[in-house]
């Protein structure tokens, strides 16, 4: 008995071992593509429906399950562009953007330093600190949330974006430390040792050798930091109490609260604009993202 096409398909036979005649192979390939595309269409239906609905008149949105509008309109975007109450769309966008950019800078800077120390330097307490760092990846934020809120409240930072971005400069997102560490471990140690023989200290080694070589992990961190901080709702909800600091996420929620249920159109137009940067980022960098996610989980 041989493994059938379906079995191979189900268990994922690795490449390079032909076991089917070419004609069967073509049929199998076509079936595979059809299955993938059908699944994908179902999976992405809500996204296409969102996009389509943003061009439908409000009355059509519930009635029309198809992503393609019966009647096209751009009015929704005209309304969405006016923003929410006194907040212009550009201000919401600028606020989201500043938080995300500062988050990226903070994460890349602080996590790279910590990752280098954990991956390459020998120091007392390394094992203990490393264990603690890994533990914080799994720590639910709620257990530090309230005292952090009290600290930022006492510092008079509630209502500013500082509580959202300052922690990122202190390597609080241990996931990225771990991700970069895994990457640094893959860089041959001989390079460090050569630098050491040439008289370079750890700072020089980091700046001239490791940092340039770990660039792919910095790119992965940049993209994840950007997308995650862009979509991060809970901390924004808690800390951004001054409407002038509202982000697109908060603006969207405010918009939903302020308008009646019938104004689905502008709501979806605004939703499309809110996720657009994430979609663009993803489209451009998807290789880095998917590979970054894959390696973080393995190579333990």
């Amino acid at each position: 008995m041989t493994v059938s096409t379906e079995t191979a398909l189900a268990i994922g036979i690795p490449p390079g071992r032909p076991r089917r005649r070419p004609a069967q192979k073509t049929v199998g390939s076509v079936v595979w593509h059809v299955v993938c595309i059908v699944l994908l269409a179902g999976l992405l239906y809500p996204v296409f429906w969102l996009l389509g609905s943003s061009f439908k008149p409000g009355t059509e949105i519930l009635a029309n399950a198809s992503p393609i509008p019966w009647e096209w309109t751009f009015d929704n975007y005209a309304v969405a562009m006016q923003g929410v109450g006194p907040l212009s769309l550009w201000q919401l966008f600028a606020n989201s953007m500043s938080i995300s950019i500062l988050t990226v800078v903070g994460n890349v800077f602080s996590c790279a330093l910590a990752a280098f120390a954990f991956a390459r330097l020998k120091f007392r307490g390394r094992g203990f600190l490393f264990g603690f760092m890994i533990m914080t990846i799994m720590l639910p934020m709620h257990v530090v949330l309230i005292p952090q809120f009290i600290i930022f409240n006492n510092l008079g930072m509630i209502g500013t974006i500082l509580p959202l971005v300052l922690p990122k400069f202190l390597a609080t997102e241990a996931f990225f430390v771990f991700l970069m560490m895994q990457f640094i471990r893959g860089i041959p140690r001989e390079l460090d040792e050569a630098a050491l023989i040439d008289g370079a200290g750890p700072f020089r080694t980091f700046g001239s050798i490791i940092l340039p070589l770990m660039r792919p992990s910095l790119v992965t961190t940049t993209i994840f930091s950007f997308i995650w901080s862009w979509d991060d709702f809970f901390p924004q909800l808690i800390y951004l109490q001054d409407p002038s600091t509202y982000t697109l996420q908060l603006g969207l929620r405010l918009f939903v609260d302020q308008t009646s249920a019938s104004s689905f159109g502008p709501m979806f137009a605004m939703s499309v604009l809110a996720i657009l940067p994430v979609v663009i980022f993803f489209a451009v960098f998807q290789r880095y993202l998917v590979d970054g996610m894959a390696t973080s989980g393995l190579k333990g």
Partner: protein
């Protein structure tokens, strides 16, 4: 050669001071934003702190209220457990299924992998939660489609016995992240094992359970722990779909949503701290149980 010749072995100098410099941001963060606040919230959980007054020590009152008096607390626990138990296995099963489907040497594999992954990046946003809210509302797409097949459930959002499943579907929709990790794991399964299985006449199921499952079990374990921890902390979807209230009649009152409500609507910081610590303990215990159970079903290469 002189007696002072260096020994011929690799010397890795200890860089104590340099290490502190590199680690200083992280150590400050760990001390000021993690360890300090963890201790503080444990202390606060024994007080009646309300953010404005001075905290008074109230002993175990918060915990007694939580466990004995507060019906909404137990409701939130039930809703959250229900969500974790239903959403996590379904999400992982789908992730594994699609990973097995995609794990073939085909040209478009990379494209499909990225496309299936995309929802994981969008699913946490307010925008997508609003889409879900609209799709599952009365006379929305889901309701209308089911009606075509004679299933009259009405709007899921307003139905206390269905509302939670709206959020379950939203969680399952984001199966791409564990799927990508499964795919990376599948690539490491040696092809010879499949050859051997096929020579031995193993069928599809047999091959999956005897080869793929055991070899993939460390990855399954990793995904299970990660997804479980994440699911316990789900928030945005429930907040947006229920308009921040966890309704109808608390059917989507996730633990985190109730904690948020206690802390930032009622300003019961002491009570919310007690809730946060209970969450930490529950997540810790469940993680420990999964670790314990892993000895019987997770196989690491080189164990035998």
């Amino acid at each position: 050669m002189s007696a002072a010749a260096p020994p011929i072995r690799r010397v890795r100098p200890r860089y104590q001071n340099a290490a502190w410099v590199f680690l200083s941001p992280w150590i400050m963060g760990a001390a000021l934003l993690t360890i300090g606040p963890m201790i503080a919230s444990l202390v606060l959980s024994f007080t009646d702190y309300d953010l404005f007054g001075t905290p008074n020590f109230v002993g175990i009152d918060n915990y007694r209220r939580m466990f004995v008096e507060d019906q909404r607390f137990w409701g939130a626990v039930r809703v959250t457990l229900n969500y974790v138990i239903v959403a996590v296995p379904l999400k992982l099963a789908l992730a594994l299924g699609v990973a097995l489907l995609l794990n073939r040497p085909r040209k478009a594999q990379g494209f499909y992998r990225s496309a299936f992954y995309a929802p994981s990046l969008l699913g946490g946003s307010v925008a997508v939660a609003l889409v879900w809210r609209t799709l599952f509302t009365r006379d929305g797409t889901v309701d209308n489609t089911l009606s075509l097949f004679g299933v009259e459930l009405g709007g899921w959002i307003s139905n206390p016995s269905m509302a939670l499943y709206v959020l379950v579907t939203l969680a399952i929709w984001q199966f791409g992240a564990p799927m990508v990790i499964f795919l990376a794991g599948l690539k490491q399964v040696p092809g010879e094992l499949y050859d051997a299985a096929s020579v031995d006449g193993a069928g599809r199921w047999r091959t999956f359970w005897s080869v793929t499952w055991p070899l993939l079990s460390p990855v399954i374990f990793f995904n299970l722990v990660l997804e479980m921890i994440g699911a316990f902390q789900a928030f945005t979807g429930a907040y947006v779909v229920s308009g921040g209230r966890g309704g109808p009649i608390d059917s989507t009152l996730f633990y985190t949503l109730y904690l948020y409500d206690r802390a930032f609507t009622a300003f019961e910081m002491g009570y919310a701290s007690a809730m946060a610590w209970f969450l930490l303990v529950v997540i810790g215990v469940v993680t420990l149980l999964i670790f314990r159970s892993s000895q019987s079903w997770v196989h690491y290469a080189g164990d035998e």
